[in-house]
């Protein structure tokens, strides 16, 4: 299995997904060699991924071996690397969703790193004994395809997100080409939702017959929380602050909510290339004192954020799945998610809204904060429903796919 991030060092949902899926697969007796990039360069967050080898001792991962490759693969850029202020950007490029920003999602030499990963993965492929190659997202697609060619083993590519999700219409052509190449060459494609499956068929011209939809799961941390009636309500945004996640719509909706009620605070937990701009935007709207930015949260802090929240909002412009929404539900937090997300297609006990419909978004936020029965029902039924998304189910489906692919190969 080829991946590019693994807990505890993650920047988004992909690492969480790889963790949950491999753990469940391993429990079902599938042997996995997990190949990860890891930079030897000390200045990279991601080199710490090396410590993933510590999992080898753990019983739960007894069927998994980790191999790491020395390449500084750092998929996203944080606000610290990004200069420019909200105002100057807004003036120069007119909109803060423009392509000029999306081009910078990735470190500058990312394509080089992908190449390096491919070279090294080929070497590993020759020394390892395996039946099938399973690659997570585009950075590992070239490695998967060339290893498959080299060894004659079948390959499965797992699409957790596409370039269209990350960058809207202003796609990076090189990345699109790699995604397309991987999807067409692979023996089978796994998509995290029908929403993503549709993007793959319509934007990458892949036959729908080749794609299986496997929903993600969510880890049960067993915590139960009682909703108390607080004076000041807290609305939580938790995710990277980038174009894809729609943080600007959240801020706009917050402004509208504050027109109607005063006892609300908004927390934006996460980091990304739009963080600074959002801080300035909130200040510009005159609601800077009501929106709190926490930067990237990890582990216990994520948990605490959920515990504080009266409502979780995921206003994504395009969200292939949205594990964070399920995590919020698991923590008894009512959720409001955009219809442009994979989870929205199956969830009943969630409020849904089109990401651009700021009015409706604010309307629903207010309703949750204002009407206790709504909050109670979303919270209780939501927790129950989130419990049906189990990694065991996802893993069983993946195993089934492996079987079919091997039977055809």
């Amino acid at each position: 299995m080829l991946g590019w991030e693994f807990p505890p060092f993650i920047s988004g949902g992909l690492g969480t997904a790889c963790y949950g899926l491999t753990k469940a697969l391993s429990r079902q007796g599938t042997h996995i060699t997990f190949v990860l990039p890891s930079g030897a360069d000390a200045d990279c967050d991601f080199m710490k991924v090396l410590t993933a080898q510590g999992y080898l001792i753990s019983n739960e991962f007894k069927n998994i071996r980790f191999r790491t490759i020395k390449s500084a693969l750092k998929p996203y850029i944080s606000s610290a690397n990004l200069g420019g202020s909200f105002l100057s950007n807004a003036q120069s490029s007119q909109s803060w969703q423009a392509g000029s920003v999306s081009q910078q999602h990735y470190g500058r030499d990312v394509l080089e790193q992908v190449n390096k990963f491919e070279q090294n993965a080929r070497e590993i492929a020759q020394t390892e004994d395996f039946d099938i190659i399973h690659a997570h997202d585009w950075m590992t697609f070239p490695a998967a395809i060339s290893s498959a060619q080299l060894t004659g083993k079948p390959s499965v590519v797992h699409v957790h997100s596409t370039e269209f999700d990350r960058s809207g219409e202003h796609v990076n052509q090189a990345i699109y080409d790699i995604e397309r190449f991987g999807m067409h060459r692979a023996d089978r494609i796994v998509a995290v939702s029908n929403y993503t499956k549709n993007i793959i068929t319509s934007r990458y011209a892949v036959s729908p017959d080749k794609i299986d939809v496997v929903y993600n799961g969510v880890e049960d941390d067993g915590s139960i929380r009682t909703l108390e009636d607080k004076k000041t309500k807290i609305v939580l945004y938790l995710g990277r602050i980038t174009f894809q996640k729609g943080p600007d719509y959240f801020v706009d909706a917050a402004k509208k909510v504050l027109e109607k009620m005063d006892n609300v605070k908004f927390i934006m937990a996460g980091d990304g290339d739009m963080t600074r701009r959002m801080i300035e935007y909130a200040a510009w709207l005159g609601i800077g004192h009501k929106i709190f930015f926490t930067k990237f949260l990890r582990g216990q802090n994520v948990h605490r954020a959920y515990q504080m929240a009266d409502l979780y909002v995921m206003p994504s412009v395009s969200e292939p799945f949205g594990i964070a929404a399920l995590e919020a539900m698991k923590n008894n937090v009512p959720i409001l998610i955009s219809k442009q997300s994979g989870v929205a297609e199956t969830l009943h006990n969630a409020l849904k809204v089109n990401f651009w419909d700021v009015n409706e978004m604010a309307n629903k936020m207010i309703a949750v904060l204002k009407y206790p029965p709504l909050r109670t029902m979303l919270s209780e039924n939501g927790r129950r429903e989130a419990g049906t998304f189990r990694w065991e189910k996802s893993a069983a489906k993946i195993n089934e796919i492996y079987k079919n692919v091997l039977a055809c190969a």
Partner: protein
């Protein structure tokens, strides 16, 4: 001897438009959607079914008899959006073979919340039936056949009804048969008619179900089942939504043909006939007193209130709307009262139902919302506006009855102030 007693429910609510907390218009209704649905139902169901009924009544020369319960809210909509369908109902009334029943004008659950409001709405409905069909109803059917001992007593105390209609649910009847006439507990004159839900649902729900062992249901087969009741019952009460014909069961299922041939097959047996509820009540004595302490209805498989009062949102919305009664009535504004009553229509609470599975299909029919949560939010927003309107009227009343002179003086001071502020704001922007 067995009589077939048909009663059809005719109702469509005033659906609410998408109303956010930021809206403050006083038209709460989705006029476009309501007109569209009303027109569609009229074309697919009311018009063809009414024409068929007229034809059958003529053909059997008074032997084919039926009854309707038409809510006030659908009458209002028919008048606006489908007057041709309303005309055919009037023609049916003119035949003398059709009886109209009484219910709450706004198709509400007021019987459970406010007896004053309940009787007011029943009076309104009777007046509407008199106006449109020149009949005075003598039989009462409550919204969705919601029934318990208290409701029956209340109806008897009104003194204008001969009988009340309820669901013949198994858990209230036990071994007893719905095919007799009963008397509600503690009632002296009022009789009780029970729906034969098996035979009714055979037509209303199972008619086109190909997985059903008795599919396809033909008129001779159904008549045979009715014949079988001979000797162990007086009447077969077939109560159902009128939309069964053409909407719930599409024309292509053969439902109209089934109906066309049914009278012939039923009347083949010399002991059979058709009767309206009033005729049933007159013809047969009450055979027993029936004690129904728990509320029953004709909805879903539970036959209880869970379709409207099954979750906290529904409880909350219903309690809140009836809490407004006193202030709305003291505001004494006709438009306000009408809006408040239209918000009581049971359908609004039905849309908030979260029982998904087997019953979910029926709930989805004509449901304008994607999710029960959305319907709750929308409803609460409208009610919030209604509440504000009400308090505005009330405070205005207080002001005008108090010191009218002071009011004009504050206005004089306020106006220039605001102008000045706007000016300074505008210059500030420049």
């Amino acid at each position: 001897m067995s009589s077939v007693c048909f009663y059809f429910q005719v109702h469509q609510p005033f659906r609410l438009r998408n109303y956010t907390i930021f809206d403050n218009g006083t038209n709460y209704y989705d006029d476009f959607k309501n007109a569209q649905i009303c027109r569609k139902v009229a074309d697919k169901c009311y018009l063809p079914a009414n024409r068929l009924m007229l034809e059958l009544i003529k053909k059997y020369n008074g032997k084919f008899r039926i009854s309707y319960s038409i809510t006030g809210v659908i009458l209002e909509q028919l008048e606006k959006y489908a007057p041709d369908a309303l005309d055919t109902f009037k023609q049916l009334a003119d035949t003398g073979c059709v009886e109209f029943l009484a219910e709450t004008y706004y198709h509400t659950l007021s019987s459970l919340y406010s007896h004053n409001e309940f009787t007011a709405q029943v009076d309104l409905h009777i007046a509407a039936i008199q106006k449109y069909f020149s009949q005075t109803p003598r039989i009462f059917r409550n919204t969705e056949l919601v029934y318990n001992n208290q409701i029956a007593e209340l109806i008897e105390s009104m003194g204008r009804f001969d009988a009340i209609i309820a669901e013949g649910a198994d858990h209230i009847l036990g071994y007893k048969s719905p095919n007799f006439v009963y008397q509600p507990l503690r009632c002296k004159n009022l009789k009780l008619l029970l729906k034969n839900y098996r035979l009714s649902d055979d037509i209303a729900f199972r008619f086109s179900n190909q997985g059903w062992a008795d599919w396809p249901l033909t008129a001779p087969k159904f008549a045979q089942w009715v014949d079988a009741i001979n000797g162990c019952g007086y009447t077969v009460n077939l109560f159902m939504d009128y939309e069964t014909f053409g909407e719930h069961q599409w024309e292509s299922t053969g439902i109209f043909n089934f109906l066309r041939h049914l009278p012939e097959e039923i009347l083949k047996h010399p002991d059979n006939n058709f009767k309206t509820p009033s005729e049933v009540v007159k013809a047969f004595p009450a055979s027993e007193t029936l004690d129904i302490p728990y509320t029953v209805s004709w909805a879903d498989i539970e036959r209880d209130l869970s379709a409207w009062l099954g979750n906290p949102m529904q409880h909350n919305a219903l309690t809140e709307i009836y809490k407004l009664e006193d202030s709305i009535k003291s505001a004494a504004d006709d438009a306000l009262i009408a809006d408040w009553r239209k918000l009581q229509t049971s359908d609004h609470f039905y849309y908030m139902c979260t029982k998904w599975f087997s019953d979910g299909d029926v709930h989805k029919y004509f449901n304008p919302y994607d999710s029960p949560y959305d319907s709750y939010i929308n409803f609460m927003n409208v009610m919030d506006n209604l509440n504000t309107r009400c308090s505005d009227i009330l405070s205005l009343k207080k002001m005008t009855s108090g010191r009218p002179q002071k009011k004009t003086s504050t206005k004089l001071i306020r106006r220039p102030l605001r102008k000045n502020m706007e000016k300074s704001f505008a210059t500030g922007l420049q």
